[in-house]
């Protein structure tokens, strides 16, 4: 960037690009369908803060029950609504009691590494690097996983013309952290998650530790060489993708995943989520130019036998919090400029159903974590309450904060991207003081 702009003064200066320039320069593989003409113009930074954060975006797929993840023990209706699946109050004598966060909310032990509260996400919360947002979600009231995930990832509800994801548009509207990075972002997935669609130099890589063309190690370099020359005259966008891919295969071969030693004795669970975060940690520390990763964790669709104290919800929460807790100790606590966000498409009914589970609801929690996050708090816009008359459709925690308000502040203040109208079209975000 700098070499091409002799007028670059090194100050925070922005260059308004026409759509034509933007599409020409930013995203190979971009198309009109990806960035429809009604999107605002992009202001592309000419000189950018190299200390802007890397973002790790987590999607909790299936509709995560915010009332178990961060339970409002001080709302009496919580206990009357959930006779078998509530988490005991922190001041109770139950062995499975929750751990007090702020006098109103508590973590279940699944979120804190056990009764002592020294593991999971508790350290990040206590060191004020973990922010919890409650009664949040999306304003679009779909209770279909299918629609709700899609619109949350796209970042604009009910618009079939928009197929790119909010994180994809973020990356498409900001210069790369490392100009020559072969890979700017990855989705730890077999296919690129919608969140990342539209991002340049971004590949779905389901297992970064084994991103290879397979076969004999002896001939692998030679075969990769065949690919590089065979695709040299390929048509776009396959040409660039193949080039990015061969470079990424080569790049990832230089990254020592197997011999990686975590910092602070952090231990990632041997789950797909834990392994994914570990790989992302290795990539971040390898300084190869990764600036975003999308990681998914499933298991939240708890229609029956939810049991947040010992059952399926317990195990899912434990995996979630132990993996992110390890990532916190391993990466964030070491001072790396990284922000983590975690969202889910919706929460679940306040009242448990006939099979000790919960059906699809509305409001839930989301998390933001990082040294630049103003954490150690549970924020919300007036607790809507769990009394029946305060519930949406008489059954669900209301959504009081649009998840885009939280993400927009992070995009602007931690990721250094002023193009909020492009990342979250038709949305004027409210600031909640998410960042320091």
């Amino acid at each position: 960037m700098n070499e091409q702009h002799p007028d670059d003064c090194g100050c925070q200066e922005y260059n308004e690009l026409s759509r034509r320039q933007f599409i020409t320069t930013s995203a190979v593989g971009a198309s009109a369908a990806f960035f429809p003409a009604w999107l605002p113009r992009v202001v592309m930074s000419k000189a950018f803060a190299s200390d802007r954060d890397i973002i790790v975006s987590v999607f909790m797929r299936g509709g995560a029950d915010g009332l178990s993840l961060v339970a409002p023990f001080a709302d009496a209706n919580y206990y009357t609504s959930r006779s078998t699946i509530a988490i005991p109050r922190p001041d109770s004598t139950a062995a499975t009691k929750g751990l007090n966060l702020d006098g109103f909310f508590m973590f279940p032990q699944a979120m804190t590494g056990g009764a002592a509260g020294t593991g999971g996400l508790m350290p990040a919360y206590q060191l004020q690097d973990l922010l919890i947002v409650h009664a949040t979600g999306q304003l679009n009231n779909s209770r279909s996983h299918f629609d709700a995930q899609r619109y949350m990832e796209v970042g604009k509800p009910v618009d079939p013309t928009l197929v790119t994801g909010w994180l994809g548009r973020h990356l498409a509207s900001i210069p790369p952290l490392k100009p020559d990075a072969p890979l700017r972002a990855l989705g730890v997935s077999n296919g690129l998650q919608k969140t990342l669609v539209g991002a340049p130099k971004t590949l779905p890589i389901s297992d970064p530790t084994n991103y290879s063309i397979g076969g004999s190690a002896t001939t692998q370099t030679q075969r990769l060489g065949f690919m590089q020359s065979d695709y040299a005259a390929s048509e776009e966008p396959l040409h660039s993708a193949a080039l990015d891919a061969t470079n990424t295969v080569t790049l990832l071969k230089t990254v020592n995943f197997a011999g990686y030693k975590t910092a602070n004795n952090a231990v990632y669970p041997n789950s797909s989520f834990g392994r994914a975060l570990r790989s992302v940690a290795v990539l971040i520390k390898s300084d190869v130019g990764i600036e975003a990763a999308q990681v998914d964790i499933g298991g939240w669709d708890t229609h029956s036998g939810q049991d947040p104290l010992a059952g399926s919800m317990f195990r899912t929460m434990q995996d979630f919090s132990n993996s992110l807790g390890a990532f916190y100790a391993d990466v964030i606590a070491m001072g790396y400029n990284v922000t983590v966000v975690a969202v889910s498409e919706f929460g679940r009914n306040v009242r448990e159903n006939g099979s000790a589970g919960t059906d699809h609801g509305r409001g839930t929690v989301m998390f933001a974590m990082g040294k630049g996050i103003n954490g150690g708090r549970v924020i919300m816009k007036n607790w809507p309450g769990l009394a029946r008359e305060n519930l949406e459709s008489g059954q669900d925690l209301k959504v009081t904060i649009d998840y885009r308000d939280i993400l927009a502040e992070i995009v602007q203040r931690r990721l250094g991207n002023p193009n909020l109208g492009f990342v979250f079209p038709s949305w004027t975000p409210t600031t909640f003081g998410v960042t320091r």
Binding site: Q4, S18, G29, F34, P204
Partner: protein
């Protein structure tokens, strides 16, 4: 950031573009620099120097110039014959046998042969399907009790098997097309999809579009997928009413309004599912009030009766005869079979075939796959399913189990019947291009297959002669005899750089499947 210089947009047409009277002078197109550059590169081996017409994109009326992907993507210069182009478009892979068949029948003969698919003896494949995947012939009533995972696996594996090995190749290509057009997510509809695939998609894939649309509208699986079974007079669900117009007939710009969606949803109340997967019209939940959909008025009924279904049938007739449906279907078929950017001339021509034949899909396919249009058509990127089926046709493994291939399709990013939204898997190169390493990895896996219990690729024939002969055979089996010269030379170099044995030959086969030219058709 490759460049930020605001240079004059490069013309997509290049220097050898055909003239296009529809091209307005004031509009310009923007191209990715690299795209324009590679499109203009002379291809290796283009000794004949033939000029090919390149399609010129339609202008996009927009404040901003926009990128049209692929619009000037040519084809390999080795792809000289229109017969070869026809075979690539009409099949899952131009194998030596398919090319020989086409050569024997000639251009028109091969089209006729493929279109009259019911006359093609496909008993070998159908017998195999019946033996290996017996659930595929069962009714929804019976499938209700079957293990859901087994139903899914059988549907997926049999679909791959048929695409790869059926002699009715063009028919299979159209089955894939309509499966996306009427896409359903098996996670939501489960075993119901078996009957939909069999009795809707496969029954009408080369029939008449109106019959296909109506069969889909009477499919229990579709009713469940788009929540039509949750719709009732007191609370109509608009999901199916919207999608049947937006995705199945008129297209998103097909001239209907939100009011039309709401009104059509009222018309369709009562279209639902009973028992274990039987479509039924239930008059008791049908809205008998007066409705108006796109100017069509439906008077109020005096009582709820079985005749209420006729309101919906009337609207289906209206939809399949609407010019915007003719345009939408014609355009989409052109994109599937010919080019990502069909011209207005092409669209109008196929619309008129639709109109004249009552939406006869065979007639439309025949009109699209004509000699002149094929000669000028840019190549298209194989989607993972197509790519995998191609590899099966070319490697012709002995198959005991399809499990490897089915699971590999997940890695490749296209698990069958796993696309959750009703729009179906995209047919866009920019969507698929990123996932190339899994293709290369798959190529390694499939070329190495040598198991008596799962699948085995036999390399004997490739090792029978010289390295040159091996590459010739690869050319015939994988590229229909039209392998690009650069690939041929590189493969030969690769084989000669090591010991000419089974391992080396398998690696060369893996490279052939990995090669650029194998990704396109």
């Amino acid at each position: 950031m490759a460049t930020t210089s605001p240079s004059t947009p490069t013309s997509p047409a290049g220097s050898d573009a055909s003239t296009n009277a529809e091209r307005p002078s004031r509009r310009s197109f923007v191209f990715l620099g690299a795209l324009a550059a590679t499109a203009l590169l002379p291809k290796a081996g283009n000794a004949q120097g033939k000029t090919r017409k390149r399609p010129v994109a339609e202008p996009v009326d927009s404040e901003f110039p926009t990128v049209r992907q692929n619009e000037s993507v040519a084809a390999f210069s080795e792809w000289e014959t229109t017969l070869g182009r026809l075979v690539r478009r009409a099949s899952y892979g131009a194998t030596a046998a398919e090319v020989a068949k086409a050569n024997q029948l000639g251009f028109q003969g091969y089209i006729n042969y493929q279109l009259n698919y019911s006359r093609i003896d496909d008993s070998a494949v159908e017998t195999a399907v019946a033996q290996r995947w017996p659930l595929m012939s069962q009714t929804s009533d019976a499938l209700f009790s079957a293990d859901a995972g087994t139903v899914r696996t059988q549907l997926q594996e049999s679909t791959i098997y048929r695409a790869a090995f059926s002699q009715r190749q063009l028919y299979q290509r159209m089955v894939e097309f309509w499966s996306d057009h009427f896409n359903q997510d098996i996670d939501k509809v489960g075993y119901l999809l078996v009957a939909d695939q069999r009795d809707v998609i496969r029954k009408h894939a080369l029939g008449k579009f109106p019959d296909l649309l109506k069969a889909s509208a009477h499919s229990a699986s579709m009713m469940v997928y788009l929540d039509q079974n949750a719709s009732r007079n007191k609370a109509p669900n608009q999901n199916y009413a919207r999608e049947i117009m937006e995705l199945h007939t008129l297209g998103v710009d097909g001239g209907y309004t939100q009011d039309d969606v709401a009104e059509l949803s009222r018309v369709l109340t009562g279209w639902t599912v009973q028992g274990r997967g039987q479509f039924v019209f239930n008059p008791l939940i049908h809205d008998i009030g007066a409705k108006t959909v796109m100017g069509v008025t439906i008077p109020a009924a005096t009582s709820q009766s079985a005749d209420g279904i006729n309101e919906g049938e009337k609207m289906l007739d209206f939809l399949v005869n609407h010019p915007n449906t003719m345009r939408f279907i014609s355009t989409k078929m052109l994109k599937w079979l010919l080019t990502p950017n069909p011209t207005e001339t092409q669209i109008t021509a196929i619309m008129s075939v639709y109109k004249a034949t009552g939406g006869d899909i065979k007639a439309m396919v025949r009109a699209i796959l004509n000699d002149a249009w094929l000669a000028a058509a840019p190549m298209k990127l194989k989607r993972p399913f197509h790519f995998l089926a191609s590899s099966l046709r070319s490697t012709a493994p002995t198959i005991v189990s399809m499990a490897t291939f089915n699971s590999q399709l997940n890695n490749l990013g296209q698990p069958l019947f796993g696309w959750d939204t009703p729009d179906g898997y995209p047919d866009k190169v920019e969507y698929w291009a990123g996932n190339i390493v899994p293709r290369w990895n798959y190529a390694t896996v499939v070329s190495a297959l040598n198991s008596q219990t799962t699948a085995a690729v036999d390399t004997t024939a490739y090792r029978a002669g010289s390295p040159d002969a091996a590459v010739d055979l690869i050319d015939q089996n994988f590229f229909g005899g039209e392998m690009p010269l650069v690939t041929r030379n590189a493969l030969l170099t690769y084989i000669k750089a090591g010991t000419f044995n089974d391992t080396r030959v398998r690696e060369a086969i893996g490279l052939a499947i990995s090669a650029n030219a194998f990704q396109w058709y």
